[in-house]
């Protein structure tokens, strides 16, 4: 990456230098707001190359009708200069950090993201909207999978009811399987897993869509309730902590998982190359 692309996007000469050259800067108002809040938390704006990737991500989300608005809470866990910057939400409220430290965070490269320890590190994410039983999604970008082998499992994101099992929503993997629930009780195993985007989205009482390894399938399981309004990232609130590395998570209402996958994967790849 050129030195100009490494200049903070907030730098006086980030956009160009008279008589020498120029480069694009972020233009999307929501992206600029997010990047500005991140710069405050970080102590400096991210490199222009990172900022432009984030800007393209926001514009990409908005290119698919309903996609951007369906994301009610989300953090991009890469790109920011510091852990504090990574925990600035792109949507919704900021998550509460439970036990993560700076060394757990890798901002770029081939496997960026925040790494759990499988024992006591998690984020508590308030859901800003009242959870809906039949319009819901969760998604993560798994940069590096859990090292837990079956029957052990790592839950990467979960939104459960305070008691009982009705309406549970979660994404869980180990080295060989993926397990998901989306506003239901039983849950469904997939006999494989993959790094990259893993997502679930329900828009119908009878079934939901699961996306793993850039392939989507319909899971026929009837919704059974709504969970409480706190989402745990890297944990399921009952002891199954994640030891994986996540570069992104989002929660909210039902959405187009394939479009979200494309946007998030492009973002993580671009950030990985930029820093």
């Amino acid at each position: 990456m050129s030195l100009a692309a490494k200049l903070p996007w907030t730098h006086r000469f980030a956009g160009g230098y008279g008589g020498i050259g120029s480069q694009p800067l972020p233009t999307d108002a929501d992206a600029i707001d997010y990047l500005s809040r991140m710069a405050t938390a970080d102590g400096a704006g991210v490199e222009t190359g990172v900022a432009v990737a984030v800007d393209a991500f926001f514009r990409g989300l908005k290119a698919t009708p309903g996609l951007f608005d369906a994301i009610k809470a989300s953090c991009i866990l890469c790109g920011a200069r510091t852990l504090n910057g990574a925990l600035v939400p792109m949507a919704g409220a900021a998550p509460a950090n439970n036990n993560f430290i700076s060394d757990d965070y890798t901002r770029g490269g081939a496997t960026p993201g925040l790494k759990g320890n499988g024992s006591n590190k998690r984020l508590s994410q308030a859901n800003p909207a009242t959870p809906l039983q039949n319009s819901a999604h969760q998604a993560i970008y798994l940069s590096a999978n859990s090292a837990f082998a079956a029957p052990s499992e790592a839950t990467h994101i979960a939104e459960w009811p305070t008691s009982g099992t009705a309406g549970r929503t979660q994404i869980t993997t180990n080295t060989s399987q993926t397990f998901t629930r989306c506003r239901e009780t039983t849950g469904s195993y997939l006999g494989s897993t993959s790094v990259g985007v893993i997502g679930i989205s329900r828009s119908d009482p009878a079934d939901y869509v699961r996306r793993v390894g850039q392939a989507s399938e319909t899971i026929t399981e009837t919704s059974t309730g709504t969970p409480e309004q706190v989402v745990y990232v890297f944990n399921n609130s009952s002891g199954s902590y994640s030891d994986a590395r996540l570069a992104f998570y989002s929660i909210g209402e039902s959405l187009d998982l394939e479009a979200l996958d494309e946007a998030v994967s492009t973002l993580v790849t671009a950030i990985g190359a930029a820093v």
Binding site: S2, L3, K6, P8, H11, F13, G21, A44
Partner: protein
């Protein structure tokens, strides 16, 4: 015909960095840092017959230097100071000379000419910089890429023997350091090594700071002025810790230039990005 049509329109030349912010204490580069600078930027010894010749910035990049070196290597015996103070960096020992032409091709970093230091023996002595450590206000702007290893290596060193007074260095595979006083008082800033970076290191009345690519500033109040330095080197730390990567530009100011640092950083960043 209107009067306008009789005028000869000459494009305005972009001001050089030292035209914009004059007064550098020393300025080493492979580009011309001011529009009035017409002297060479390097003197090069070719490996084929040890003949030496000076080269201007345009001659470095237009093929003249490569033609002089033929199919062999070009080793730098003198990195010219463009400040006017003649604080040149020099190296008379052939095996200690950084490379600028390798097997007939000019060494490039991100597409621009660069000096390649081998991390084993290459460095310049720059005795004209000895008094730089005595300044209450001092700033260094440096463009280079360190090698991807865990060794501490020095881009700039001014001290007593191998005892640091002023130094800009790569600490390990995740950080760079700077001190205007002593190694123990250094500030450190994280950055990926093995990649070209623009360093801005300053010590203004004992408050020292280091930023990489204009990112997060690492600061403390442990800088200082010094006396009695007897060693000033570019690419080595007194008796070891040789720089193991490329260098393209190092500009030193014995002044507080913080108010215009954006202008300097912008000029440098864009000059190495086309």
């Amino acid at each position: 015909m209107s009067p306008m049509n009789n005028r000869l329109l000459v494009p305005r030349k972009t001001p050089g960095l030292l035209d914009l912010v004059p007064g550098a204490a020393a300025a080493y580069s492979l580009r011309s840092l001011s529009n009035s600078y017409a002297d060479p930027v390097v003197t090069v010894r070719r490996s084929s017959d040890d003949d030496e010749a000076p080269f201007t910035a345009s001659e470095v990049s237009d093929g003249t230097l490569a033609a002089f070196c033929g199919a062999g290597d070009g080793l730098v015996t003198k990195w010219w100071d463009q400040s006017g103070y003649e604080r040149h960096g020099s190296q008379t020992t052939p095996t200690y000379q950084p490379k600028i032409v390798s097997s007939g091709s000019v060494v490039l970093e991100e597409g621009k000419p660069a000096l390649q230091f081998d991390g084993i023996a290459d460095f310049f002595t720059a005795p004209g910089l000895l008094t730089f450590s005595e300044e209450a206000n001092k700033a260094v702007f440096f463009v280079g890429a360190a090698g991807n290893n865990a060794n501490r290596v020095r881009a700039l060193f001014i001290g007593v023997g191998n005892s640091t007074r002023v130094s800009l260095f790569k600490e390990n595979q995740t950080s760079y350091g700077w001190t205007g006083d002593a190694y123990a008082n250094a500030v450190f800033a994280n950055a990926v090594v093995d990649s070209q970076h623009l360093h801005y290191a300053s010590d203004y009345n004992g408050s020292q700071s280091l930023t990489i690519d204009a990112g997060i500033a690492s600061t403390n109040a442990l800088g200082g002025t010094n006396t009695g330095s007897d060693t000033a080197e570019i690419g080595r730390g007194g008796t070891g810790q040789w720089w193991d990567g490329s260098m393209q530009e190092m500009i030193l100011y014995a002044d507080n230039v913080n108010a215009v640092s954006d202008l300097i950083i912008g000029n440098i960043a864009w000059s190495y990005s086309v």
